[in-house]
Symmetry: C2
């Protein structure tokens, strides 16, 4: 736990730098106020890690809102009862009523009234929001109470900032990826013919949550036999059989940041053909990692992966990879159309795969940090033990 | 699995009746179009069960939108890749691009363009939305493309409809509550001194998911020893000790509807005083259940629970209970200010409790269906075995 506390503190110190950088951009863009409402960006800019596993609270549909007004300290409006510890340096935290049993709950009205109060008298009538995520109720309240505002979207600006990680993010991502190493080791040790996918997943999850000492949201594919040809899917009650492939793709959220890794292995004894194919895909992944360089275009990396898998007589109908951070998929997407360049500080998950329709599939994924001259692999487990 | 399939089909048949009733109300309210976007209401009206455990998709922040226009068939706009099987009778399902690796993703723009298309030429310029949940991006698109619309909020109308359950909902709620019975039995059997809260939770979850044959979102408190005085909290790495209280509150989502139950028990051997207190709180819960009657005010039930716990020399700083359905807390809230009357078909969770600051707490919760002349308890496990 001491390490985790240290990571937390470290992260808190970097938040003022992120806020400062964003506020600089807001000035350049002529923004009078920005309202940040999405979970990944609240994590990035305010260290607020929303609980997500049981959906949106019926009491506080918007439990947190970050208000940035150039020239004033950044302020996080947080529903009472929501945890934020420690509060990042330089951030003002104000509370609004969330859950109560004493009177009717209308946390959105309470939040809107705080937001209106803060936005009175801003120097420019340009409001930046994350419009795909910003609740209409807040917008109505602002429109009713304030002079006309020109609303612009902040999403792309923040996505681009988040694509390059700072040391605090990299440190937490290392831990999140290490949790997937634990999960992948247990998957391999525990998997046996006769158990169901969901039972195997219970073993994996138990080990990861035991290590973290906390519940972990986990995005996962766990698909066996012919299901593995479908590329994705939740663990179900299908029973694992001797000699069939299992794809285990694990993305846990740890301290608000997502790890990721995927392995494919055979239940019981693997045939020569199976071993050969697994070796070949492992070689494609290793080859891709070797090619990662700053300045390379994302689409070039994508093309290499697809070509190498085509050489094996197959294909994958998904991305070759993606950025990883406060969201489980983020920039840079490693896809055919993405001409943006890889840069040092980006964290990539690469996941070449091959699927044989209705038969089986193989996907192997590792996470790496783009460095000045290549890539440092963060994933610790070995796909081919 | 056969039972589950049967439940699913049964549920699908009730959806047209819910839609018909809502559309009748929309006519009365003079609404030209209604857009439903929240997870519980999409479940209620279209049987769409959004994945929630890993938060909002970075690709499709609004994966589904239900469009209701009086005189036209209800239409569900669903991102490609989202599951809906079977499609409820009478519902039109249209797809918009969600995730793709072939081109840049802007699913919100795609969704907005579909919505604009459908709303052209509606007969009345009144639009009903769930404003706390409706994305500003959709609103902007509608405002840009259509003649001025008067926007009203649909939230309260739907909350009030959902408070009374139909047979299909009750059938699924029975199953969801039965899953908590399994969890509570395992909690009691598996709990022992030396294990951590998170390890105990892993056992509970494994048993419930094994039974369901699927992953289950679970809202849970699992708090031991002095933590139990805090009323709520996620399982962590605190180690259970002989003779201390554990509160286990489990709310799993099954087929889009939430079960709930809470038990408190002692690790190892309970003292006479502990047994006495647990018996007393069990008596308060049993007494509350006996008092449930249609026509009774929610606040009356609340007052009885608080008075009985006060007789034991304690109190609880939360609701006495709440409705249960497509959201984990919904109407009727059993709280001091709620003067609305209980009605047959309501499903209530009642959870009287007593907390001794910094020492320990006891909370016991059962779920019941309000009947014509009382309550049928849906919870199957016994708090005091």
């Amino acid at each position: 736990m001491k390490l985790i506390e240290a990571i937390r503190e470290e992260a808190s110190c970097w938040i003022p730098r992120r806020l400062e950088r964003l506020c600089g951009r807001l000035e350049e863009m002529g923004v009078g106020a920005a309202l940040v409402s999405s979970q990944p960006n609240l994590r990035y800019l305010a260290d607020y890690e929303a609980p997500i596993e049981w959906g949106v609270s019926p009491f506080s549909p918007c439990a947190s809102l970050l208000i940035l007004i150039p020239g004033r300290p950044p302020e996080l409006l947080l529903a009472e009862g929501e945890a934020l510890d420690p509060v990042p340096t330089g951030l003002v935290v104000s509370r609004f009523p969330g859950y109560t049993f004493r009177e009717p709950i209308d946390s959105m009205t309470e939040l809107a009234s705080c937001a209106v109060d803060r936005l009175r008298g801003i120097s420019r009538a340009v409001l930046a929001v994350e419009s795909a995520n910003f609740p209409a109720a807040l917008l109505f309240a602002l429109q009713r109470a304030l002079p006309p505002l020109h609303v612009i979207d902040l999403t792309a600006e923040l996505a681009s900032m988040r694509a390059i990680k700072d040391p605090a993010e990299i440190q937490i991502l290392r831990e999140a990826v290490r949790l997937t190493d634990i999960g992948q080791s247990v998957a391999r040790e525990a998997a046996q013919a006769g158990m169901s996918e969901i039972e195997l997943f219970a073993e994996i999850r138990r080990a990861m949550e035991h290590d973290a000492g906390d519940r972990l949201p986990i995005l996962a594919d766990l698909i066996s036999g012919s299901r593995s040809a479908e590329a994705g899917g939740s663990p179900g009650n299908r029973i694992l059989s001797e000699g069939e492939m299992v794809i285990v793709d694990l993305a846990p959220r740890f301290k608000g940041m997502w790890g990721d890794s995927c392995n494919t292995f055979v239940i019981g004894h693997a045939s020569t053909e199976q071993n050969q194919l697994l070796d070949q895909v492992a070689k494609v992944l290793a080859g891709l990692i070797k090619r990662v360089r700053p300045g390379m275009k994302a689409c070039e990396l994508d093309a290499i992966g697809r070509a190498k898998i085509a050489d094996l007589g197959g294909a994958y109908e998904h991305h070759t990879g993606h950025g990883l951070g406060a969201a489980w998929h983020e920039e840079p997407r490693i896809v055919p159309y993405n001409t943006s360049e890889l840069k040092p500080g980006m964290v990539l998950a690469l996941e070449p795969a091959i699927y044989f329709e209705r038969q089986f599939g193989v996907r192997l994924e590792s996470v790496m940090l783009v460095t000045e001259d290549g890539a440092e692999v963060l994933t610790g487990f070995k796909h081919r033990a």
